[in-house]
Amino acid sequence: MNKSKLFKMSYERRQGLVGYVFLIPWMIGTLIFFCYPFFHTVWMSFCDVSFDAGSIITHFKGIDAYTEVFLKQQFLQQASTHLGTTLLHTVCVLIISIFLAIILNQEFFGRSFWRVIFSLPIIVASGLVLSVFQKDLTFQASVTSESTNIFQNEALTEMLLSMGIGDKIIEVVVTAVSSVVDILWMSGVQILLFITGLQSISPSLYEVCDVEGATAWQRFWRVTFPLLTPYIFLNIIYSIIDISTQSTAEVMYTMRYYYNNTFYANASAAATGYFLMILVVLGVISLALSKRIVYIDK
């Protein structure tokens, strides 16, 4: 009887149910391992938080924490400054990673070797080894500097000085080089994702290009770029999230400061507010881009 009921359902509703079946494990997991802990933290931002015998006690207080963090302190300014930097860095990361992914997707000798080299930031940047590279042996993320500072600027400065180039120009060159290096250290994941995207483009489309006599420029803008847009969208969203929540940023430092000094309400308020800001940015961007993403059959 139940089965006949299932067949009476419209095709769309049945499909929707199948969708839920695929989603069930994730929904259960997210409820337990994310929703409860996360929204409990959000709830803490409206409360007076104290600890008693290992358990957290909360008393509802209102939006005091928000007014304190966002109106009385510099948090809002720090947050918006960092979001601005994030957008700028995202654009740079995208350009550099598309460029390198296209090169690394070509057939040439030693490609595996080069691909591993450009994956190094993925292996290193997520772990403690990064602080070893920064010669910071105390394993504490640097507090104020945004830069990863891995690149040795002294050698470059000396080289340029010996060539008799003026101080001003050297400063510009060195800054440019070290910011390219910083961007490169943020681009590991994006490069690999773009390589995956490039691999999913059918070679027959490029054969057509050859037959029709398209130039490399046309090939890129008419074939590669449109078919890469789903991956560009993915990487835009990921880069924004990744860069905006960098542990070296001043905003994140302020949040850690609240936590470490047991201002739990303030910490939760700051975190919630900042993530809402990021969500709004992401929402605006995905609305603006959603019409421009090319999926093959839609």
Binding site: P25, I32, F33, F34, I237, L279
Partner: protein, 310 residues
């Protein structure tokens, strides 16, 4: 030569020009790769150079990169201090197990978001994005409470169970990767499967998943490396056991104790400490280099894709 093959001079010249630009591009490509990679490789060369450097060369300014007294002592010392014989298998157990579970389970959710329409899809997907944005630090206290209640402290299952339910480290990103991959596959594939009598799950396992193999590999590699490097939550989820990342973090303290207790080595010798920590980092990075070297070889052009278009 070209005339013999029946090609006139104009064509021969254009072929030569094409060959010229091809060679030029090859050289330019190499230059670009070398320039960009310099900044990435430099610290690695430094790390390897320090690791195999003998004590005699530490203070010798004429020794820049290649040591004259090759030694494995630094490596052995780091190995012993990191208790690598135990922490390596434990770390591998956690990261391989979680990576398999995570890459399989996130694919389900990604497929649901890519291909089905259901109520609250937008809200649920916003939740996926939220899980990527919110760093674990923010809600780790409550998460610890849950893991503690499940009695999973000190067990690799603390990570496995989150991976099994499509949660855990950066799951949101993996779901997003799968969603974009599945959406960029043509629906013709599923329609063909449906006409041939495949159910929803048959279509998924036999048609869609094989076509998303590249993303599967990439997610697997990301997951393994991020679990491998996980320090923060590992610190909370363990009491007696330590993974490789925790051992590396503890290395400095352990080494300082060793330095001050042994009279043979000059007390508080910063260079010695640095060399040992570099050796520890090499131990930490090496297995993951191996994973990436093998993993990226399997990134291939989609099979069905080439069959269907055209």
């Amino acid at each position: 030569m070209f005339r013999k093959q029946g090609i006139d001079g104009f064509a021969a010249r254009s072929i030569l020009m094409k060959k010229g630009t091809a060679i030029g591009w090859k050289i330019l490509r190499l230059v670009i790769l070398v320039c960009f990679s310099y900044a990435l490789v430099y610290p690695f060369i430094y790390m390897i150079s320090s690791t195999f450097r003998g004590d005699e060369d530490l203070w010798n300014p004429t020794v820049v990169w290649v040591t004259r007294h090759f030694t494995l002592d630094n490596l052995k010392n780091a190995w012993r201090n990191m208790n690598y014989t135990e922490s390596l298998p434990y770390s591998l157990e956690v990261s391989i197990g979680s990576a398999i579970l995570q890459s399989v389970m996130c694919a389900f959710a990604g497929y649901a978001f890519a291909r089905f329409d259901f109520k609250f899809k937008g809200v649920l997907f916003a939740l996926v994005i939220l899980t990527i944005i919110a760093p674990q630090q923010m809600y780790i206290i409550q998460l610890f409470g849950i893991v503690n209640k499940l009695n999973l402290i000190d067990s690799p299952a603390a990570f496995w169970i989150q991976a099994l339910f499509g949660c855990g480290i950066r799951s949101g990103l993996f779901i997003f990767i799968y969603r974009q991959t599945f959406r960029s596959l043509p629906t013709d594939l599923e329609n063909a499967a449906a006409i041939d009598g495949c159910g929803a799950f048959g279509t998924y396992f036999r048609v869609m998943l094989p076509n998303a193999l590249n993303s599967f590999i990439v997610v697997f590699m990301f997951s393994i490396v991020w679990h491998w490097n996980e320090y923060f939550s590992a610190e909370l989820f363990t009491q007696h056991k330590r993974n490789a990342a925790q051992q590396l973090a503890a290395l400095r303290v352990g080494l300082e104790a060793q330095l001050s207790s042994s009279s043979a080595v000059a007390v508080d010798n910063p260079l010695q400490l640095q060399v040992w920590i570099q050796a520890g980092s090499l131990l930490m990075v090496f297995p993951m280099l191996f994973v990436f070297l093998i993993g990226q070889k399997y990134l291939r052009e989609g099979i069905a894709r080439t069959g269907i278009v055209g």
